[in-house]
Amino acid sequence: MSRRKDLLAYLASRLALVPVMLWLIASLVFLLLRVAPGDPIDALLGTRAPQAARDALRQQLGLDQPLLVQYGHYLADLLRGQLGESLTNQEPVTAVIGRSLPASLELGLVALLIAAVVGLAVGFSGIARPEGKLDLGGRLYGIGTYALPPFWAAMVVQLIFAVWLGWLPVGGRFPPTLEPPSGSGFYLLDSLLAGGGPPFWGALRHLVLPASTLGLLLSGVFANALRLNLRRALDSDYVEAARSRGLSERRVVLRHALPNALLPVLTITGITVASLIGGALLIEVTYSWPGIAFRLQEAISQRDYPVVQGIVVVVAALVVAVSVLVDLVVALLDPRISF
């Protein structure tokens, strides 16, 4: 078979697994929520309500039905593309996700951009003089940022730049005294399309601290990955061959070693994107960023089953989609990969 046919067959096999994976994830989250201690009725009413009121609410929310019946309804709704309604306010789960997912994606994408630019720059910087000061500094940076607890780092950054210096907002996504831009839910983009001005700068000011914190914490992974892969590539035979042909070191690095070293980094990028869709929970909580991880955490504490299930399924679907996409891109770029 030709390589193109191989690729299509590979894609088909991956896509065929997607529904199975999603069913497994959806079933698992359904089951785990019911097994976990706590009850949505208690979360909604506390201990104050009389038993009759609790029973009435349980019936109203359909939680009095046998577990299998609930599971059946849940799967039937999923197949119809319906994620149900929040137990706390009867809002459709799709609306909850529609509101919070763009916030997480905006934060994640900007953080990823910062992580890639800073990480690759740091990883590349020491390559001219291995074991030199720059290289050592880059290694320390990589280990340090990877090892920093995100919650602590976010709090320190918040304390310095927002509280002590007062340069940037402590939290939130948009200045409360301005009207949020309508559109895609990506405030930077929406406010830019609406003409920029105070809404754009307001959105940017709120994004800087969480995105920088998240981006810098992730950049160490990129730095170390590039450094290691570039070092391995520079020690390889084809680079030696290039050098022996009299090519300049600059050309050897940029044209021969770097493209090969970047392929594994692309895979890491995919994994990072996947994890960012799930949300950088600690960053979102610290900066009061109304993203999907923040909403998921609230829903878990409220035992809001439909919201938790809906968010997990949607995030899982996105993660699967991104990982399939990354696999395909890597397969297209790297002729050595066979299926």
């Binding site: 506390g46 007062g166 610290t286």
Partner: protein, 510 residues
Amino acid sequence: MLPLVGCLPPKPDGELVVANKSSLDSVDPVDVTTFAGTQLLSAIGDPLYASDPSGRTLPRLATALPQLSAGGRIARIPLRRDVRFHDGTRFDAAAMVFNLERFRALGKLGYLLDGRIETVRASGPYEVELQLKRPYSALAALLSSINLTPVSPAAYRNHAKRSLANRFVGTGPYRLAGYTPQHQKLAPFAGYWGEPPRNRGIHLVTLSNSTALFGALSSGEVDVLLSQGLESDQQRSLAERARRGRLVEGRGPAVEIGYLTLLSDRAPLNDPRLRAAVAHSLNRELISQRVSFNMRSPLRSLVPPPLPGAAPPPWPAYQPERARALFRQAGYCKGQRLSLPLTFRSNVPADRLFALTWQAQLQRDLDDCVQLDISGVESTTAYRQLEKGAFPMILLDWVGDYPDADVYLAPLLACETAQGNSCLKGSSVSFGSFWSAPGLQGQLQASEGLSGRARLAVLQAIQQRAAQGNAYIPVWQVAPRAWAQPWLAPPLFDGSGRLVLQALQRRPQP
């Protein structure tokens, strides 16, 4: 970064930013159960009655206190005639009936009315008649619950049987001009019947952790900060700044109590001597100081002052020698040490501090008699396990739905079926104590129909009996506080412990 620093959006003159910790899932009164929700409703809605900080109940949308029939089973409530909803429609008896019926049908706290009210009808264009299931002297206080704030029947026509989470059309001094779970924009309602707000609008914002809240006030990003969700040391720091004039502070009446529940029908705490010993061993002053830096006041009553029935405090004071004597009587302290499990809610920082502090205090005072074994359980899980008798002793808190002694005593003590001092079925089981006393339920019911001094005497007698039983041990009371930037006048609270947003204003120039 410098250009960004210089790009602060201009703040509209007279609009204020008020921050707290909880986000909102819904603004519909039938859904709201959290403090953040009731705080918002108190600014955009009006109840029939309202409590002032001294605990008095005063008419708001009503024009007088309920006029009761001879048997006390029928209450007539005259309504104001000059009230309009935010959509311009008129508030009248039909609108109030629509709301009371809607709340009974949909309200998460609908049981507040269901247990009391048989029927509701409009007995005139501006008069509502309630038929009560039994006489209830605290009816006005019950109707002061902000969850009963009326919404416009016209605007909620399609939501008579379904809640409306993200819109609100009520009668309050502000209208809801913008809503997200993390930010609610309140604009003054031009057609408000009462005194107009003293500011040009409020932005209620949510910051999800106490450090961010504290930092936002310190950096000037928010104008007013509510104490809910702040750690005790942060509250102390803000109070200290207020003392130095760098902030202004407001303090409301305590509506939250912290108390210990003791499992009274199983060993070891089925022995009343041990429960009394535990009550005598609790050094509330020390704990209040160490845990909350005196931001929470020691409490020896289940009813928080200044509500009627709170005084005199009936629970035993800290007397370690008396505690030792009781432990001895129960067979401990003579080479045998009681191992007493204490559960605290692991997601409530003050609870953990309480457990650690009391453990150390008992180790200091009564090490030969008792040892506290502490463990944490997440709050939702704890609530679920209470009625199963899972916790020999657990620290909990309670906020009454409206400011009246009844909503502090009845939920903890009511018992439908009792056997001696054990409650088999009822609220006392749901709250995890399983305690009752012969005739106590009768006293609780009798107090509902009484008023004035007669009611006060019964309330005091109920508390006295509960204190002798020691199945609940009050620990502290929590008064809400708010801190504002120094150019603002001190924040004011209503009798339900909610910040009066419409009273926030610039400090008058001297």
